[in-house]
């Protein structure tokens, strides 16, 4: 278990705890520079649009892993939080006439409160019922958003005016690319802090054996509800940004089980127990989706492909590609060293056998 060591790890001493190794710092810096430069590397409308979607998915899968990764509770219904955040923000702008920033904050708050309440019902039942509740949340909110036409615009959709008046479409994409990137960094930072905290250790204990954790004094219900609330708040924040960026909300598309399952797929594919795993997953799956859509978009192959990908990940690498690659690297890298050792050992043995 890769987390065994981190369970024991003490709380961080210095707060902005940058990794110490030089290649890692360079790597992180390079990554950030690359991310920030992306809208200028890719000035075209579509590339920027796809870039926003990819970073948005990275936020979503990272948020998902705050529950799925730490506690092991699989939620198929994070689209409920996404959609609720989007609608609350949109309604804040359209109906309440709030400034965009205030509406965004309102959206995040609404989602956090909803998640805390729904979470109480959801985590009362362990395992299977939790998944069912998350599925039910999506279908239920979809029905409600569809029905409450006076508030949500119903099936005609909710048109949310853009955050900056008169900005060009590609300029708007660049703006939201950065906003989503900031949100992603914030989500990663939160993940990092939880991972290194006592609280994070408690969540992981729940994942490994909930009964034992409880016996050892971990307040499991409170911990789980808190994890779900934080995770939902970030998901809702992504929804809020989405509402202002995309500008058009439709109940049956925003509250979608398929959206929820993509978050899971991305997080698992990258590795939901690793800081950058879900981001990595999003950076693989979302561009792949776009690629298949634009290149082979005339058939239903893309549904089959996403199903097949999930299938492979669940059966063959449930820990994600990070440990898989790591294992491969370990086998590859130390091998050059170990070959000699082994040869020496073999030599020794053969010598011993000879004598």
């Amino acid at each position: 278990m890769p987390n065994a060591s981190s369970v024991r790890s003490p709380a961080p001493t210095a707060l902005p705890h940058l990794p110490r190794s030089v290649p890692l710092r360079i790597g992180l810096g390079l990554l950030l520079v690359l991310l920030l430069a992306y809208p200028w590397i890719a000035p075209g409308g579509y590339l920027r649009y796809a870039g926003v979607l990819v970073v948005m998915y990275a936020v979503l899968s990272t948020s998902w892993s705050m529950v799925g990764g730490f506690t092991g509770y699989v939620s198929l219904g994070h689209a409920a939080f996404f959609g609720l955040g989007a609608y609350a923000t949109g309604i804040g702008v359209v109906t309440l006439g709030l400034p965009h920033a205030a509406a965004f904050v309102l959206g995040v708050l609404v989602v956090a409160v909803f998640a805390a309440v729904a979470g109480l019902a959801a985590v009362r039942a362990r395992g299977a019922s939790f998944v069912i509740v998350t599925i039910a949340m999506v279908t239920m909110l979809s029905l409600l958003a569809q029905d409450m036409t006076w508030l949500t615009g119903g099936s005609a959709g909710l048109q949310v005016p853009g955050a900056v008046a008169g900005i060009s479409r590609t300029g708007n994409h660049a703006l939201f690319f950065y906003l989503f990137t900031v949100l992603l960094l914030f989500a990663l930072l939160t993940w990092w802090f939880i991972d290194r905290s006592r609280y994070g250790a408690g969540l992981k204990a729940i994942r490994e054996d909930e009964e034992k954790a409880e016996a050892l004094g971990v307040p499991t219900t409170a911990y789980k509800v808190a994890a779900l609330t934080v995770s939902a708040a970030f998901t809702g924040a992504a929804g809020g940004l989405y509402a202002m960026w995309f500008g058009n909300l439709d109940p049956i598309f925003v509250f979608s089980l398929v959206l929820g399952s993509s978050m899971v797929l991305m997080a698992l594919l990258g590795g939901s127990r690793y800081l950058l795993g879900p981001t990595l997953g999003a950076f693989v799956v979302a561009p792949a989706n776009e690629y298949f859509l634009t290149q082979h978009g005339e058939s239903q192959l893309h549904i089959i492909l996403s199903g097949a990908l999930l299938f492979v990940v669940v059966l063959f690498m449930p820990e994600g590609v990070i440990p898989a690659v790591q294992r491969a690297l370990r086998r590859f890298r130390p091998q050059s060293a170990s070959i000699r050792e082994q040869t020496q050992q073999e030599l020794h043995e053969s010598r011993g056998a000879a004598t």
């Binding site: 890692l24 590397i41 649009y49």
Partner: protein, 423 residues
């Protein structure tokens, strides 16, 4: 995380992938042309020289709207084939570039963003389903692309202030039943329905059709005795049918798509409810309808935007060529696709350009706004917001299949039977 191995690994992979995704994955400009080939319809443009006029279209080839989506696509293909056979557009061959949107608005926007900015198509046509038209039209609007579309007919579409959007059919959704309303208003008092029941899918298009008729009926003094709205994804319609049947209304109106129209008709049959007049949108015009309701079609009324037998423009050629190309006669959706092509083609030939840029595209839009175009659904004019100004025909299923019964002009093929036969 004490162990730094995973972090290094993920960083390495992450950097690699960011580079990859930035440079290659979401399609470089040339990939549009090549990759698009997978979804391109090469419409026998053998004899034509010169750069093709490339037209980008997003279509729901999978997902909830895929069924009518296929019809629209076939209509587009027939249009392209016929244009290429008769000398092309501005003497250039036409090439259609299709993308699947999986009935998902994020993908619709992806499609049009990539078609316009990556594949750099010269023109775009609209997608299918009202729910997808607004996000798609916003993309076209912000890149100054003419956006003639075959499906977005609900009121909201025309209230967004779009400059480039036109709906290529005779009338918007709320006017679909106008001819039927006129007919009912003229009926002698003892034949007129006294009560009406409405059941509609919660969908902007379906609801607008039913409520358009409801407004007219209420104004004419027909009492509304039931007004049911059910959400998408409803399974089982018998209980909803029971509620309608209980009112025993003279007129039943369904703001329906396909499975709900079938479910309601089957439900009415099972419950033994026999209204004097029954009207459903969309469902009864889809070829699978007759089999799905077990042949109990006689007397069912629907608004249609097009008739295979109408004597407008190239209609006869369209029906013949379409049947030849696709092995089946065209549906109304196919005709809508074809009409879209006709409206755009007329503007392109008149203005003399088909390329990106505000100058050409605005000229095309202005032309369409000012002109009357001859199409297979009759002459089309548009108002400032892109609403077509004609009226839908009224179709009624009769013993020998669907007949056009209203309005009382050349396109008519039969008389409206009222009250309808029992089902």
């Amino acid at each position: 995380m004490r162990d730094r191995g995973p972090l290094v690994t993920s960083l390495a992979a992450f950097t690699l992938l960011t580079t990859l995704s930035a440079c290659s994955t979401p399609e470089d400009p040339t990939a549009g042309a090549e990759g698009g080939a997978a979804g391109t319809f090469d419409a026998g443009a053998a004899g034509l020289e010169g750069e093709p006029v490339r037209i980008g279209i997003s279509m729901p080839l999978s997902g909830d709207f895929s069924e009518p989506g296929i019809g629209v696509r076939q209509g587009y293909e027939t249009w392209a084939a016929m244009v290429n056979e008769s000398g092309g557009l501005l003497d250039r061959p036409v090439e259609l570039v299709f993308r699947d949107d999986a009935s998902d608005p994020n993908k619709v926007v992806s499609d049009y963003e990539s078609l316009i900015t990556q594949a750099k198509v010269d023109l775009v046509f609209g997608p299918f389903s009202t729910r997808l038209v607004i996000p798609a039209a916003e993309v076209a609007e912000s890149y100054d692309m003419l956006f003639v579309e075959p499906a977005g007919a609900s009121d909201e579409v025309f209230e967004q202030g779009f400059e480039y959007l036109f709906y290529a059919a005779p009338a918007v959704a709320s006017d679909h039943y106008d001819n039927l309303a006129d007919y009912i208003e003229k009926l002698p008092a003892d034949e007129r329905p006294r009560t009406a029941a409405y059941a509609s899918l919660d969908d902007p298009f379906a609801q607008d059709t039913a409520y358009g008729l409801k407004d007219r009926m209420e104004a004419a003094g027909v009492e509304t005795v039931a007004d049911e709205v059910y959400p998408p994804g409803t399974t089982g319609f018998t209980a909803i049918a029971a509620r309608i049947a209980d009112t025993d209304a003279d007129l039943v109106v369904g703001g329906t798509q396909f499975e709900d129209s079938v479910g309601l008709v089957r439900g009415f049959q099972e419950l033994g409810y026999q209204p004097r007049m029954a009207a459903f949108s969309t469902g009864p015009t889809i070829p699978e309808f007759e089999e799905a309701v077990g042949g109990a079609t006689e007397g069912i009324i629907s608004p249609v935007g097009w008739s295979p037998s109408a004597d407008y423009g190239q209609n006869a050629d369209f029906v013949a060529r379409h049947t030849e190309l696709h092995g089946a006669p065209p549906s109304e959706d196919a005709a809508n696709g074809f009409t879209t092509g006709e409206v755009v083609a007329a503007a392109v030939e008149e203005v003399g350009c088909a390329e990106q840029g505000r100058k050409c595209q605005k000229a095309l839009a202005d032309h369409i706004r000012g002109a009357e175009t001859e199409t297979i659904v009759g002459p089309l004019r548009f108002d400032e917001q892109g609403r077509p100004q004609s009226a839908h025909l009224i179709q009624q299923w009769q013993a020998d299949g669907p007949e056009i019964v209203l309005p009382d002009d050349d396109a008519r093929t039969g008389d409206l039977v009222h009250p309808k036969a029992e089902w």
